[in-house]
Structure formats: C-alpha cells, structure tokens
Symmetry: D2
Subunit: 407 residues, 4 copies
C-alpha cells in the first residue's frame, strides 16, 4: 500500500521520510505511538514552557540522522546492506521505547532495579514475535552483538545519533540556542575504521563543540534547579502514595498506575510476569498528571499538600552548593514542617529532598570518540584536542541540590 | 520581592520579560498555570507531532506582542497610561483562560451552550475578587466597554495579537513555514485613529500576507484531515461515555471529568453553581487522555473499540468533498459496522461523523481591518488591496468532511 | 581526484554537495566564478543592507533544489537518466551566467537589445566547446528543445527552481520573512504528466502561498522605492558617462567598462565580435562601484554631482503614484535643477527619472501552473484555486515611480 | 524631521531602530556609509560564499546590542544618562570606521605602522569637527578616558558588543551554526561593579560557551585555509604592485589606490597630511577587486600570474602544520616556480607565503572577564569556571600555514 510512504513534518529537520513499509509498521506500533504521550524532557517544561516535545518526535529525528549518517558512511565506501540499514533505523527508533513517564522519578519509586534500556529490549523482543523475527538484526545491533560495531555505536555511544538529535531538539524547543550543535557537519566527518565509528581529523573542533554544548545543556536545562525541584516533588508524591497504598489505604488512580502502587515491581517481575510489561506500556504522562490533581484532595495531609503545591506550580526551592547541606539545616527544616503542618518527623521528610548531581562531559572509561588522522592513526579526542583537559573531563563535577518547600 | 521580575525563554520570541509584580501574580495564578496542561492545537499533534505547545506559552507570547504593540502606539504619539498598559497585558494573558481541554470536542459534548470566552470572563471575575478589584480595567477592556476601543481590538479583533502570536507559533511548532507572518512588521505599522486600531498605508502588503497565511494555516493545519478525524473520534467517545453514564452505568474517570459526565452542564449551571466552575478548572488534557486509555477496556463495545483505535492511532479516515456525503454512503457504513461489531443502528452511528467546515479569511461583518492613508482617510482592507477580492473573501469556502472507521 | 566532491556551506539550505567532477568543473569555470562578484539583488542593499548575496550562491542553491526536485520526480516513478540529471543541474547552474553587474541598469545603457538569457546561451556554447560537447544536452534543455519538457520547466517556468530559490534566499538575506515559501513542500508535490511539470492537488495551498509571497517580494523588496531610486541614479550616471565619451571626452574607467562606454554594443556585436563577450565577462559590480567613486571628481558637473550623491547615499527621492507625474511637476524639477546647478535643460533631465513598473503575479499567457487532480485531470491553478481571481491576476498592477534629486 | 527615525531590516536581529537624529546623522555620514562597501570577512567568501555581509551591517548590529546592554544595565539600577547612551551607541557605530578594504592584507602592504583603531580615532575626530563637538564624549569613551569604564569595555573588551555581534553574524552568514552564541542571555547577565563590566554568577556557562564559540570560529572560519590562502595571494599581489610602482613602472589603478602604491604611507603621513586620510576613505573593496582584474593583463609575469589565479579562484594551496616548513621545502618551491615561469629567485618568492597564526581564546593579560558572585566578590572567569584550564588558555595555540601556488 503506497500510503505507507508517509512524510512527517519536523520543525527541527523539515520533512522526514518514512522509507518503507517495515519502518512504517514499527512507527505505527502501539508501543512506539505511546511515546507521543511521554515528554522528552519530563518536568523541564516547568522551567522551559516550550519544552513539550515528546519522545516520539525525538526518536523520529534520531532516525532521520541515522539515515543521513549511514548514507554518509556508504559514500565513504563502507558497505551497509539494505537489511543493515533498516535494522539500524529500527534500532534507533526503538532505543527509547522502554521509557516510562517521567522516567527518573518513576525508576526511583514505582519500579526498582530495572533500567529503561532493559525494558526497551523486552519490548523489542515482544515486537519481534509479532513481526515474525524481522527485528532479529535490530536487536543484535541494539545489544552490540553484531560484528559491525559502528552500527551499535551510532545507536548508543559517545557520539550516537540519539545525542545528536536530542541536543539539537532540546535546544530548539527550550529556546536555549547555546545547545545548537553542527550535527550535519559532524555527520559529514564520520567514517568507519576496523568496524568502529571514527571522526575524521578536521572534525576535531566540531567534536569539542559537541562536548561543550552537551555540558552546557546539562547544567542549563537538564539539571536546571526548577526541573530538579519539580522532579524531587514528584518522587516524594509517588513515594507517599506508595507508602499509603502499602499500608492498605485505598487510593484513587487509573488501573495501570494502581498496579505499580500496589505491587513491588522489579526486574524479576518484568521477566516472569507479562502483566508488569502490559501495565507498563499503558502508563504515560497523562496518568501521573491527572492523578496528582486528584490526590490534591486526599485526606492524607502530606500527599495533598505536596500535590496541591505541584499542581499550582508552587515548587520546591532549590539551593545549589558544592558541599552537602548541614545536618542542622535539615533538622531546621523538619522542625519547621512539623510545626506548620502538625505532622511527624518521618512525614516532615517528605517536604525536602537532597540530591547530588554529577555530570561528566566525556567518560573515558566508556566508549571513546576516536579521531582518524590523515596518516591513518587513531587518537582519542582527549589526546587530539588541544583544549580538552583530560583530567578535568574525567573528574565529574558534582553539585548538591537541596530542594525544599518554602513556607 | 525582586524575584518576580522573571524572564521566560520562548523559542519563538526569545526572552519574554515579566514587567512587574501584578503581571507576575496573574501568571502565577492557578487558573493561568492550568493552561500549561492544555495544548494549543489539541489533537493536531496526531498530524504534526511537534505541535505540543500549550495555551500558556501562547498566552505569554501574545502578551509579549501586546507589549511591543503598545510601545509602538506610544511612539506614534498615542497616550497609554501605565494602568492601561497593564490592563491590556493582563487581558491578553487571560483571554484564553476559559479554554477546556480539546475545547471544540468538549463544547460539543460535556458542556453545552457556553463558549470559552464566557468562561474566561467568569474566571477573570473570580480572580478580580481575589485581586481586590485590580482586574476591573482588564475586564472592561476584555468586554469592549472601555472608550479606548483599540485596546479591546488588540485583544480580540481582525488583527489582534492573539492571531499574530498563534499563526507564528503554530507555524513554528508544526514546521509549516508558510504560516510565518511578519508580526514585527505589522506591529510597526499599527496606529490609532478615533480610538480605533488602524494600519498605515504601507502595511497593506503585510496585511494581505497575514490574511493569506491565516487561510493557509486553516486548511493545512487547523482543519487537517487527521486532526479533524481525531477530534471526531473524541467527540464520539465522550458522547458514548455520557450516554452510558446517563443510563446509570458506572464509568471510571477522575472526579472532575465524572462531574461533567454525570451532570448536564450549561450556561446556567456555571452562573448558579460554583462547583461547575471549580470542576471545570481542574480538568485538563491529561484527564481525557488518561481516561480514554482506561475506557479502552470498557465492557461497552462501542466505547472500547473507539478508545482502542484512538489510543493506538488507528484514526478515522477522512474524505473531503465539496458536497455532503450521500445517504447511501452513510447507510453502507452503518451496515458494515453492524455486521462487523454485531451492534445496533444507533450504535453504528458512533463510528462515523460528518462535518461541514467553512473558513472565511476575512469577515467583513465582523471587525474590519482599517487602512490609514497618507491623506488621513480610512479604507477597509478589501478596498485598499488590489488583490483581495471582496466577494470571494465574504463567501466562506465550505468543505464536507466524512470521517469514518476503516475496517 | 576525490577533491572535487566538495561540500559548500549554504546558510539557507545547509550543506550543498557537489555530486561529481562534471558539475565541479562547471562550478570552477571562470564564467561561473565571476557570478561571485555580482550581487543577486543589485542595488537593493541600499534598502536592505543584508542583501549582499551573490548570483553564484543563488545558482548553487537553485542547483540544490533542482537535485531535490529530480529525486522527488524519480521517486514518483518518472525516469530521469544520470545524463539528464547532470544536464538539468548544469542548466540551472548556468541559467544566470549571462548576467552583468546591476543588469537592469546595464541593459538600458551600456548594452542594448540583448537579454541576459541570450548572453547566458552564448557563454554556455563557448563553455561547451571547452568541454568537448559535454554541455550539448544542457543547452538543449535550456533552449527547451528537449522532449522531456519538464526539465526545461524546472529551469525556467512559472514554478522553476530559480524562483523557488530566489524567493527563499532573498527573504533570508533581506530579513523580510514574508517571502519565505515552503519550497520543500512544493517539491514534494511535483510530478510529471505528459512530459509536463504538474503539481498534485493537495499542493494547491502551497502554490497560492508561493504566488502571494512572490507578489509580496516584488513590491516590498524588488521594487522598493530606495532600490528603484538607486537604480535610476545609476542609469543616469552611465548614460551621462556614455554621452560624454561619445563626445570624445576621455573618461577614467577600467578597460572592460571603457570598452562598453566607447562602443555601441548590441546583439550583433556579441554574435560577430568575440571581444564583446570577453569584455563582458570581465565586468562585474566592482568596476561600476569603483568607477563611480572616481567620477565623483569629474569635471562634468552632471556626472560628478550624480556620482557624489550616489556614493554618499544621498539617493533620489521616489514618489509612487497610480498616475504618471504631470508635465508641470517635471517642468518644475527642471527649472529647479537649472537654477541650482547652472546647467541646461537637457542636463537637468539627468536629475530625475520616471518609470512605470508593473508586476503581475501570474502570467496566464506564459507557462501555466498545472494542478493534477486525483482523477487524473489537469487544471490551471487559476481554476483550481478558490481564492485566486483570474481577472485580477491577469491585469498587472502598474505603479509610477518618479525619482528625483532632493535639493 | 520625523524621517530620521528609520528602521533597518536586519536578518540577524530583526528590526533595528535608529533612535534619534544624532545617531541618524552618524549613520548617514559618508565615512560610515563607506563601510557598506567593505566586507566584514574580507576574502572569506572564497570559503563561505554566503559571507558577503559588510562592516556597515555589523556596526549597526553592534549598536543594537549596545542599546540592549545599556537598557539592561539601567534596569539593574546603574545610572546611564541620555548623553552617555548616545555616546556609547555612536562609539560602537564608529569603532570600525577606520577599516580599509581587506584590512589585514592592506596593513601589510599599502599602509604601515598604523592600526585601524588609530584611523578610526582620526576619522572620529574629523567628524567631531563637522558635528561641532557632539562626539566629544564618544571619543572619550572610545579612548577609555571616561570614568565609567564599563562603557569603554562594552565597545572594546573581552566581552564587548563588537564580539557579541560578529560571532552571531558571521555564524549566520557563513552557515556555521556552531558559532551561534546566546548574546541575549549574556546581555541579561551583565552588570556593573566599581565602574567595571561584570557578569553575574549564573552566567558562567554562557561565558564558557562564548569563549569556545569564538575559538571555533577562529579556526573554522577566520583562519580557514582557503581564506588564508586568498589573503596571502592578495598580499603578494599588492607587494608586487608596490614594488613595480616604486621602480617607476606606470600601473593602472583608480587614483586612491594609486596614491598608496606610489607613496610610502605610515602613521606620520596620516597625522601630518590630510590627503592620506582623504584617499584612505575613498578606498574600498571594489577598487582592489576591480584593479586585480586589470592587473591580470599586466606585462609583469609575476603580477599577471598572481592576479589571473586570484580572479579565477585558482587559489594557493595551504598546508597547515605544527612546525614551520623546512628550508628544503621552500627551496624546492622556488626552484619549481623559477623553472616554470622563467623568473628569478626573488620573483619566485611571490608564489608562496608562510604564516604563523596563533589564536588564544582568552588573554588574561588583557581585560578580564569578571564574574560577580552572589556574595559580592569578583572572580576571573578562569577561576570561576570548572572547565576552563588557565594554562591551556594562556598558551595560545600556533599553527603554521604554508600557502603556495599549485602548478
């Protein structure tokens, strides 16, 4: 059916073509479509109201860049078969399919000990059954079990199309122009050497720019104090709801959310029990947002206060420091909340949150970014660059966020 | 508190300043913040996945343009006091505050006989009580009861900052570049004559461009067949849910949504009963989206089928024609659905929808766009322009959309 | 040599690839490189200081769009051979190669009775000799002598890639956003029927938008009163210089310019005498601009005054009217200049210029824009559109520009 | 005359207002208008064909940013009088007025021992005479003789609006997106402490981004090997022309250019002899470009060969290395050229050029970028940043460019 050769309007890259029926069917799958109900930047829209874009659009954008990168590698003389091409496109489309709503908050509360990558893999395997094994190679690439390692590196590595898309896209929708990277220029510089993805020598400045743009986005957007504060509140809300439910309290929530509140779900649950995955894929942002409003009328003071503040954008205040907050400071907060709300010490702890956030620009133990010199030798970017200081880059910067309710 | 002089990052206009505490307090009000949970383009994100922007950001953008327009009018020598300036800013901020989630669908089902403008006014009046009358002038301007009519015309008229913002913004987020208008140029050309907003002669081409861009966006975005199809499905879903509830069926939904399902809410209810408004302001997109997923497991076949298709993006097909669909065509559909689902005639009618959509680019009976010639005379744009054909513009173009489930 | 697969950075379309050696050699040819010394918009930089882009970049952009369009047509199942592909690319690259500096001014003064298209053809033929006939098909397409007419229509027609590029590009560099057209969308809608270029039905709105954007750019940019005034001055300057030279006056100028001042060059000269073409291709903007400064110190009062005003941006004032200026008005001007400068009647005429400019948005006698309906029938855009009024479009709008020196 | 409140269309910043008659008169002055005939990036258009923008537009853009910065400082409570405001605007408008065409090439050949800043000052002083001393404060600020040092620092310092504009603008016109900086964000963070310009603490990431963007633009654009090669050729051309003239050879050139060829012009000449400055201001890009074409037919083999290659874009090849080229390499080149052209050793030296280019991102000995902490203390950016490595930044990176004719 010719209908499947759709074109999608992307405000970032213009028109994105869906190249064939196989890719169309992946995109139309309900697991994938669900990503259109999960925001890429979670609660960052509290800080950047334009940042409402979804994981679905990010995945489509990453597919577009994957396609551009593969064509470029082909032009440089690297063989990539049609089957490999499609498998790489579907792998990047599905790389985030295991994300839940407000992933970070969720993974700390409703689900434990299982990463979104693991869930992505489980979902790909289920889809593979439906697709009669057509995702075999997709999964191999995703798991880095395919000999052409560069295909996996494009899906997940220091310089993958995931990052190339999200930096550009998050810049676009937040309005933070500093995150704009030269993705087209970087892609033009990609090549393959011994099955590994490498960057040609003249691309060094673009890579430096990419690493710094990422660092900028980390601190200016992803760990913006307002986003972190909102996330802390949501963690506390979900923890309280789970605590109440575990105590037998009946709490209003859509069935899928109730499932995760009422049960302890860990990695084993996902592997052994199909219903965990089924409930997981029917959860999205709307369930959390809708339910938090309902909980604002809860009889539990802690839950209702947290939810009321969250809904009306009276967010926690964030103090960012180089050192952890003192015990006195925290004791002071507890005393305040106890008096104000007439609650216990344990309950008072729901009104603040301490988090240590560290972001390193470039993790050398991880995958490396390899620069291919004109003489054929390979060098890590930290050697090749005359500005990147290895020691500084290795030592991640840490900041302490103390988020607490302002009374 | 200096804190209230915030700056908001807008990907469309750059930094937007919040000029003073009064405006800050309007923006922080829970009625206004709620708009960040209501998408500007409703279900258009099915057709344009980038179009996730909210009514809150649109309102802030319109405030920015209002501020630019007022400064321009002041530079042209028109007196605008600080109080009028603030009142105009707050009026445009609140002009859409009465929108519910997926307004068009909602106004046809859960609420009847009351427009979002009327609810906006009710909400402004409630806020005015809280603000000790500081919104008096805001309301006067909104209701067009203030002698400087141009202030109302900037809020709501043929050339208001509402339209100037949404055309630009919707273009930006959908990626449909054709809707980009020269809002800065138009604003530079604005002036006031006899308390009416007018456009200087050399702005004629910009106005023509504005009218055509609007027309383009109407057909290419706002009435895109995929958006219309999704909306038709949502109308049918809500109608079915209301029908079931009215028959005494217990149906899962958050309390605010259940209120509108279980009661008949019209204009009178809003005026007489405070709880209508209170429930209304706690409704947003998330309630609808979350609940539709729950209803996909309803025991009612009609409701569950509609919801399942909606959630999995198996949308109605849209046929667009110049003439209404024939009775045979519709009878054929009914027969099909009856056989396929084993349902009654009435039930079969839930699976298709016919709508006549007409959009006129410029409504002359409405407010006019007046052009101020260098000799001081005023002319309607349809006279001033050598390309706009009055008769064509007056006669709205009508198209018939037949949206129906593909089996 | 791999070196020839260059990539060019274009601020409008991003990276533009040079696909092969043949195209590289066309681009590197001195006739083509000369276009980098000729501004696309001539004297419009007086009105829009950003508009300094050259004909070379426009030609490269048009080549990019040609490539996109041809790929699209291939995807729709139309056969285009590699040879035809390259010929179409080279034809669009060279379509403007016959432009001189400030073409319009030049064609009215230094050169007469020969259009830039004719010179383009002469230059292509000369290049074809150097290229051993490799431009045979290029020339056939350019002259519309090839049976696949759509290739010529893409080079030169109502909807050619020339226009698609220049509207977008001139918008970009002038900062006039209203001229932005959806070139990517239009290209997606192109198809071929009976060897003619057609647009698919759903592209109607984009075509309307294209026609109106063009109209907008005509009046707002191309015929901006400041650009017209500067051009009128340049015409007068060159006329005076030619008059003085014809009277035997020795006048400073680079050899190529002097050739055109001292000789009467018409179509015949170009065909019979190789030196006309050789001198022509060594002329560019710099010769005119450099020489006008020299002439500002001329002993001839008329020439020196015109040049001084031009160089110091004391441009003619433009009055735009619906009717030609009255004889009295012009007589008044002559009297003024005579008294002020102490010059004769004939000399006074150099200080003003009257021009009638008419622009029709869509010329029906010309090539048409054909819309391909889903039922296979073809309709002219003026029938297919419900807003374009044929009669209005046919009747070109005329405006009278009276440009004169302010004393 | 109201006419002087013009608005200029800038593709980078949108509309730029000319705030009053004084600024209008500065802009209309022939010294300033001349900048519209001098390209900002000189010969970089050989590498980036979009980079045709002029110093005039850059100066207007910098004025726009100055105006934004001053308003921001006023909002932070710093007093800036109307007179100081206008003086700062005019100082930034005129800061580059002393640039000649292709400045770097020119300063190495036709003019010696006088910088463009010194000529800017001379021109400002001449204008000040014409303006009856209205530029007194402008000049004081430009010379850093005014007590409010931050005004000078905005004109010329580590974080001046000159740099803020040119990075953004050069990015825009070259299409090198990596140079885009958050100028609006940086401006929002500016403040004044003890009459010095400082940046608020939360602006640290933006400053880092600014420093890295500048570094990126240096190597990717300003010292692009094609631009450097073209500049080297022009230096050699002008040197040869000067040599020939000094030998008494009569050489074709417009009078202003001939003046600099025939005379030795240094700082003293400018101070003692008015005609040096008068000739200087009538020189621009067009004279050089037009004349190089004429010289392509010179009887001098060296001059004609260099010019022919330059005009036809057969540029020098650039080898970039960490070490200077070996003497053998250069001797080899000389031998080659001697044989090929039949010329002497000295003449052969015209066909290659060696240059050592070093760019340091941040010069600590220079003006510093001071960060204002919340506790009121000031810290240099190299202390405040956790990523900028002081030692690396201090040690400028050096690269050796060997540019030579390919035979």
């Amino acid at each position: 059916m010719q209908n499947k050769r759709k074109i999608i309007n992307d405000p970032v890259f213009g028109f994105i073509n869906i190249p064939n029926d196989f890719i169309y069917n992946v995109i139309q799958h309900r697991y994938f479509q669900r990503l259109n109900r999960i925001k890429q930047l979670g609660l960052s829209s509290f800080a950047y109201p334009g940042a409402q874009h979804t994981r679905l659009l990010h995945s489509l954008g990453a597919m577009y860049l994957m396609s551009e990168a593969l064509k470029q590698l082909q032009q440089h003389g690297n063989e990539i078969t049609d089957k490999e091409f499609d498998a790489a496109l579907s792998a990047i489309l599905l790389h985030d399919v295991g994300h839940g709503p407000f992933s970070h908050a969720l993974e700390n509360t409703l689900v434990s000990g299982v990463s979104h990558e693991e869930i992505s893999l489980l979902l790909m395997q289920k889809m593979n059954d439906e697709f009669d094994g057509k995702l075999d190679l997709t999964i191999k690439i995703f798991r880095n079990e395919y000999h052409k390692k560069f295909l996996h590196q494009l899906v997940s590595g220091q310089l993958d199309v995931d990052r190339l898309d999200y930096l550009r896209r998050d810049s676009f929708f937040t309005g933070v122009t500093e995150g704009i990277i030269g993705s087209a220029r970087i892609i033009k510089m990609l090549n393959v050497k011994d099955d590994n993805l490498v960057v040609e020598e003249k691309g060094i400045y673009s890579i430096e720019n990419f690493l710094f743009a990422r660092r900028f986005m980390y601190w200016q957007v992803y760990y913006h104090k307002t986003s972190v504060a909102a996330e802390c509140m949501l963690i506390k809300i979900l923890k309280r709801a789970k605590y109440l439910t575990s105590g037998g309290r009946k709490i209003l929530a859509p069935p899928a959310l109730r499932y995760f509140l009422e049960n302890t779900i860990d990695k084993k649950s996902f592997l052994s029990d199909n219903s965990a995955l089924e409930h997981f894929v029917s959860l999205d942002d709307s369930d959390i947002l809708s339910t938090v409003k309902v909980w604002a009328s809860s009889e539990d003071k802690v839950l209702s206060e947290l939810c009321k503040h969250f809904v009306n954008r009276q967010l926690f205040r964030s103090d960012i420091t180089q050192e952890p907050a003192s015990i006195e400071k925290k004791r002071q907060l507890i005393t305040q909340y106890k008096q104000h709300f007439g609650i216990t010490d344990e309950e008072a702890e729901y009104f603040f949150f301490e988090e240590c956030i560290s972001a390193n620009t470039y993790n050398c133990e991880d995958e490396k970014i390899l620069i291919l010199y004109r003489d054929g030798t390979l060098h890590d970017i930290t050697e090749a660059s005359d500005i990147l200081n290895v020691k500084l880059l290795k030592n991640a910067v840490s900041k302490y966020y103390l988020c607490y309710l302002r009374l």
